[in-house]
Symmetry: D2
Subunit: 213 residues, 4 copies
C-alpha cells in the first residue's frame, strides 16, 4: 500500500480574472500561503489562451499546450474566481474547455478540486461558484463541498500594499478554506491509493463512461 506521512501534491491554482491587479489573484495567493506543506500551489495563467476552437485541435496553439502541461502535472485544482453576469467569467470557462479537449483527452479527470468565489457585491459569486461545480461533474473532478466560500464585499481596502489580506475576518476564512482543501486532496488521494491495493478486489472509481448524455 502506498502511504506517505508527508505526501506532496502539486496544485494548479486557476484564477478567473485576468486583469493585473485582480482581487481574486490576491485571495488565491493568500489561500495558497495558508495551506500546509502537503500542497505545492502554483498559479496557472489563462489570459493568453486563444478561444477554444475544435478546428485547432490538430495543431494546437502553444499557449494551449503550455496550459495543458501544467494541468497534467498537478494532483489537485483550486479555482478562485469572480462572477461575470451570474456565471463563470469567459476567460475561465475558456480555460476549462481548453483543458478538457481534444475529446477523450481531458486533463481534469479525477483531480480533487475546490472553488472559492469573491466579488465586491454581497452575493459573493454564488452563481459562478455553482456553475463551475456543474462543469466539475462532467469533468469528473471530486469537489470539496464544505466549507463553501462566497466572499462578498471584497474591495481593495481589504488588502495591504504588498497584496496580502489586511482584513482579519477575510484572512481567517481564506486561510480556513485553504487548510480544508489540503485535507480534501489528501482524503481523495489516500482513499484512492488504498482501494488500488485492496486485496478484496474492489476497484473504487470506475473510468467515466457516458451513460446517457
Amino acid at each position: 500500500m502506498h502511504y506517505e506521512a508527508m505526501a506532496i501534491y502539486n496544485v494548479a491554482v486557476v484564477v478567473g480574472s485576468i486583469r493585473e491587479s485582480s482581487l481574486n489573484r490576491k485571495i488565491a495567493r493568500a489561500m495558497c500561503a495558508a495551506t500546509p506543506d502537503s500542497l505545492a500551489c502554483r498559479i496557472v495563467e489563462i489570459g493568453d489562451l486563444p478561444l477554444y476552437d475544435p478546428d485547432l485541435d490538430e495543431n494546437p496553439p502553444a499557449p494551449w499546450t503550455r496550459f495543458r502541461d501544467e494541468i497534467a502535472s498537478s494532483q489537485g485544482v483550486l479555482f478562485v474566481t469572480p462572477e461575470y453576469n451570474r456565471s463563470i467569467p469567459g476567460p475561465l470557462k475558456n480555460a476549462l474547455d481548453v483543458g478538457s479537449r481534444p475529446y477523450g483527452q481531458s486533463l481534469w479527470a479525477k483531480k480533487p478540486a475546490a472553488v472559492a468565489t469573491a466579488s465586491p457585491g454581497v452575493v459573493g459569486g454564488f452563481g459562478a461558484n455553482h456553475h463551475l461545480r456543474q462543469c466539475a461533474v462532467f469533468l469528473d473532478m471530486p469537489m470539496m463541498q464544505q466549507p463553501e466560500a462566497y466572499f462578498g464585499g471584497v474591495s481593495d481596502d481589504k488588502f495591504a500594499a504588498d497584496g496580502t489580506i489586511s482584513d482579519q475576518g477575510l484572512r481567517n476564512v481564506v486561510g480556513s478554506f485553504g487548510q480544508a482543501f489540503a485535507g480534501w486532496v489528501d482524503l481523495i488521494h489516500k482513499g484512492r491509493n488504498l482501494l488500488a491495493c485492496d486485496p478484496s478486489g474492489s476497484d473504487g472509481e470506475r473510468p467515466a463512461v457516458p451513460l446517457a448524455t
Copy 2:
C-alpha cells in the same frame, strides 16, 4: 400610440461554436430562414473577440467595438449554441461578457431573447441552455420560455450538402422555434411601446437597479 402592422426588428444571432462547419451555425441559419418578415436576422461573429479583460476597457480592441456595435443595433437576440462541459462554451460566455461591459454600459439590456441548444448527445445542451438563462436575468433580457429547444442527437447526416436541414423532424421544430421567437420579440416591443404611451401614467419596466448583488 406607436403601432406598425409590419414592424421590422433586427435580430443579432449569436452562435456558440466558432468552428467552421458548426452544426449550431447551420441550425441558426435554418431558424432564421423560418422566421417571418418581421425579423431581420444576422449572425454576429464572436470568434475573433479577445478574452474579456477589464484592463482593456479604456482602449478596447477593435473586435470588441465591432461586436458591441452589432449588438447595439439589434432589437432582439437569438442564441444557438452547443454545450461544453455542461455549461456555456467559453467563446460564447466571453462574448456575453464583452457585450456587458464597461460597467454600466451593457448592450444586452431590454432586448427580448431566446436560446436554443443542440448537441450530438441526447441531453441536447440542457446545461448550457439554463446557464445562459441565468446570465440573461442579470443582463435584463426578457427570455422566451416556451418552446424550449434542446436539440439532441444532432449530427452531420441531418444536413444536406448545402448546409440546410435534411431531417424533416429537426427542420420542423427548428422552424417552429424561429416563428415562436418572432412572436415573443413582437410581444415585448409592442407591450413596451404601448405602456410608454399609456395615458394612465404606468411606466412599465423600471430601469434595472441592483438591489442586493
Copy 3:
C-alpha cells in the same frame, strides 16, 4: 383592440415558508402594499397541500382543488421565498408541482411572474431564486428579470410589531420591486392583447409544444 386605462390584474402571491411568523410573509405583504392599484394581490396558502402524488390525480384532495382554483383565477404570480438547502423550500416546490398537474392541465402557463428571495444570511436566497426560475421556463411563465431581489440579512428586528417593515432600506427595495412587477404584468398582458388583435395576423406566443424533452 382591447385596452383599459386602469386594468386590474389578480395576482396570486405564493410564500415559500409555511411557519406562522415567516419573514417572507411579512415581506410579501409589504410588497403587495407597495404595488399600484392595477394589481389585486392575494396570498395563496400552500401549507395544507398534501405531497404531490400522481396516484391521487383522479380524486384530488380538497386542498389541491382549492389551490388550483386560486391560481386559475389569477393573471400574475408573485413568489416570495426563503432558501432551504440552496434550493426551493420543499413546501413551495410541492405547490409548484400541484399547480402543474394533472399532465397537460398546468395552471401556471402564460402568467407573468416574479420571484424575490429573502434570508438571514448574506447570499439572500440566490440558489432558491434561480432554481425557481428554471422551473418557470418549463411552466411557461414569463419572468421579470430586473430588478433581481436577493434580500440578505433579513431578521425580526427589521420589522415593527404590526408586521410592517421598519428598516427604511429594506422597505424601499421591497417597494421598488412591487412596483416594477406591476409594470411587468401590464407589459405582458398588453403586448399579448395587442398581438391578438393585430390585423397583420401575427399570433404572438405559440402554444407550448415540447420539442425535445
Copy 4:
C-alpha cells in the same frame, strides 16, 4: 489503521416519486441489486412526511423522526428520482429539508452520495439531477461525479411483470452505476479513516463552518 477487506455500509436509498408503481423505484431496486456485498441498501420512504415547517421542530411529527432515524443509521445515500418541472420533485425536496433540520442537526453531512435521474423524455432529468447536486454542496455530502446518470426514454415496457428491468441496455447502465457508487462510498470512508489515523496529524475534512452564507 482501520481497514476491512469487506466493509459493510448501510445505504439509504431515497426515491423521488411516491406513486406506487414508480419507474424510479424499480430502477432503484435494480441498482441496489447490482451493488456488491459491501453495500446494504434499503429504500427509505418519504411519502408520509408532513411538509417541513420550522414551527414543528419542537414536537416533530412521528414520520419525521422515523425518517431521520433511518438516515442517521446510514453511511451513504443514493437518490433515484424523476424530474418535476425541471427540478427536484416536491416530495423529495421536502425529505431533504426534513433530514437537514432542526438547524445545526443535519443528518446528511459527510455521507457519500450519488444521484441518478430517470424520465420518459429524452433529457433524463438533467435539471433535477443538478439541482439536487447544488443542495448536496450545502448539505456537505461528497457526491460521485462520474458516471452521470440521466436515464431518458424510460417507460413501463422496459420492465418485466415482476418489476425487474427487461431492457438490456438500461439494465447494464443501471448496474454499472450501482457498482461505481459502491466504489465511491468505499473511497470516501477509507480515505477518511486513514486520515483519522494519520500520524502526521493531518485532520482531513474540517467541520463545516459557514463562511459567507
